[in-house]
């Protein structure tokens, strides 16, 4: 049975980000995750034109508790409140939960907030000592064997992908290069110097076959988006960005490694999504794909039906097809490898800015339909549009 459609009943009306470049350069250790989330919230509130007291829902992630954040930003009586685990897959999950809440009337206006001071606090993605979540899993069995970190599990998928489809070393370079070029046109990006294929190939292996430039850029920062009803959205400060369809699925195992690279789950998610809104990959003006590591972008293009299985590395056509003036502009802000690793949150904001025409030098002309997708143990995807 197809899921009930949210079909444009809900809109994203405000977005906010902190200064990712400044966070990276200055490493402001005095700022807590709460401070960063609150800063992004204030920006998003101003962007939306809503009054703070109209917000009756608060869904947050990566901050330690919702109590502190709610009291800090003066939302002690929200109808809907929760704090989700601090994994990147949760940005899409939270947007979808917020949209469902607004669509069903459980809340009218939901602030979705993210604050992360992990880099200045010394967080590392790998080693269960550093990740309270891992202590409740079977990660220790892998760690005794020397295996840890999401990047290493993604590298395991990518090696298999290379083996199955005859993919040569260096096939990921166009993805890293494309993101860096897009970031060079984004004043809020951390890494803004374009890179060459030679530079990409010269960077060190982390978990071979992945190199440093295949990895996301861990950083501090805050991101916020605010959703409300389509009715309320009509007379706010900015043009509404309608949530036309949402879909999710999962592929949970003892490993981050999916044996089919999340393909079957993503295919089901995509079918749900496109059925809800009648949009197909051919209609999408820009794709914001969760790229904690570059191979995930290839898996996303295949799982969502942009190209045939096993073909994405060739389909991108040395980056031409995914460039800002290509057929499918991809991760137009620079994404996680060049803008900042904001765990999917800033990719949502970039989709909104593109649809509003606010993306400056990296603006995709006539952008009216954007898609977000995160392929991971929980896969989510949404279609966002300027016109229902």
């Amino acid at each position: 049975m197809a899921p009930t459609s949210v079909s444009d009943k809900v809109a994203i009306v405000g977005v906010g980000t902190t200064d990712f470049g400044a966070e990276y350069r200055l490493k402001r250790p005095d700022l807590t995750a709460y401070d960063l989330a609150a800063e992004a919230f204030c920006t998003a509130l101003g962007d939306s034109g809503l009054q703070r007291d109209e917000v009756d829902g608060l869904l947050c992630a990566r901050v330690p508790t919702y109590e502190r954040l709610a009291t800090m930003i003066g939302l002690p009586h929200a109808r809907l409140v929760n704090c989700y685990e601090g994994t990147g897959r949760m940005s899409g999950v939270i947007l979808q939960d917020a949209v469902r809440a607004v669509a069903t009337g459980a809340a009218t206006t939901v602030a979705c907030l993210y604050g992360n001071n992990g880099r200045s606090a010394g967080a590392r993605y790998g080693g269960s000592r550093n990740d309270p979540r891992c202590q409740a899993t079977t990660a220790i069995y892998d760690e005794m064997q020397g295996m840890t970190s999401p990047g290493a599990y993604v590298a395991t998928m990518y090696r298999r992908y290379q083996h199955l489809y005859g993919v040569p070393d260096g096939a990921l370079a166009p993805l890293a290069i494309n993101s860096r070029l897009n970031a060079s046109k984004n004043p809020n990006a951390v890494m803004r110097e374009p890179i060459t294929r030679e530079q990409y190939m010269a960077t060190a292996f982390i978990a071979e076959p992945l190199r440093l430039f295949d990895y996301c850029l861990v950083n501090d920062g805050g991101v916020a988006f605010i959703v409300t009803t389509a009715e309320r959205a009509r007379d706010l400060a900015k043009p509404p960005v309608y949530v036309s369809a949402i879909a999710s699925g999962s592929d949970l195992s003892n490993y981050y490694t999916s044996q089919d690279f999340f393909y079957s789950t993503a295919s089901r998610v995509a079918a749900d999504l496109y059925e809800q809104c009648g949009v197909t990959p051919r209609d999408v003006d820009c794709l914001q794909a969760y790229d904690n590591f570059t191979p995930i972008t290839l898996f996303t293009l295949e799982g969502l039906g942009y190209c045939e299985r096993g073909q994405a590395w060739q389909w991108i056509d040395d980056g031409k097809r995914i460039s800002l003036d290509g057929e499918l502009p991809l991760n137009t802000s620079g994404g996680h490898t060049s803008e900042s690793y904001m765990q999917g949150w800033a990719l949502h904001v970039e989709a909104v800015r593109q649809l509003r025409g606010e993306s400056g030098d990296r603006q995709v002309p006539d952008c009216t339909i954007a898609q977000y997708a995160c392929l991971s143990p929980i896969t989510t995807s949404h279609v966002l549009r300027t016109n229902p």
């Binding site: 005794m144 295996m147 292996f205 978990a207």
Partner: protein, 139 residues
């Protein structure tokens, strides 16, 4: 990242895995009701939800689903082998096992055959590790 390797807490659920490895046997938990094998150890069968299980000896051979080389130091206790290969092995009996690989990374490929060896990590804990089987050149 200096210091000893971090080890699992030995529990009534997982102890037979380590005891088997100490004897030189790869043993996996098997559901007593539906006979499904499972790894890592767990208190319940994910197939039929039975809580009854025993431990069964495996052949110790399998096929390499995929593998990587860890170049970056993330974990204590691996400095002397860095960079080292790690792989996901499909045992001939079915289950997938994440394991350190023994052998020269230059000779490793997906779908190669692997066989188990054992490594003692502490007084209580021994673990299976896998070595890539290098086929004899028919010439």
């Amino acid at each position: 990242m200096t210091g000893p390797r971090m080890l699992a807490e030995v529990t009534s659920v997982n102890a037979p895995l380590f005891e088997g490895a100490r004897r030189g046997e790869l043993t996996l938990q098997r559901c007593e009701d539906c006979l499904q094998l499972r790894y890592p150890p767990a208190s319940r069968c994910p197939s039929c939800l039975s809580a009854a299980s025993s431990w069964a000896r495996m052949s110790g051979t399998g096929t390499l689903f995929s593998w990587i080389v860890m170049h970056r130091r993330y974990l204590a206790g691996f400095d002397d082998v860095l960079p080292y290969p790690v792989g996901l092995v499909a045992l001939d009996e079915g289950p997938l096992v994440l394991t350190r690989l023994l052998g020269d990374p230059a000779s490793i490929q997906c779908d190669q055959r692997v066989e188990v060896e054992f490594e003692d990590l502490s007084a209580e804990i021994s673990v299976p590790v896998f070595r890539v089987v290098v086929e004899a050149d028919p010439a």
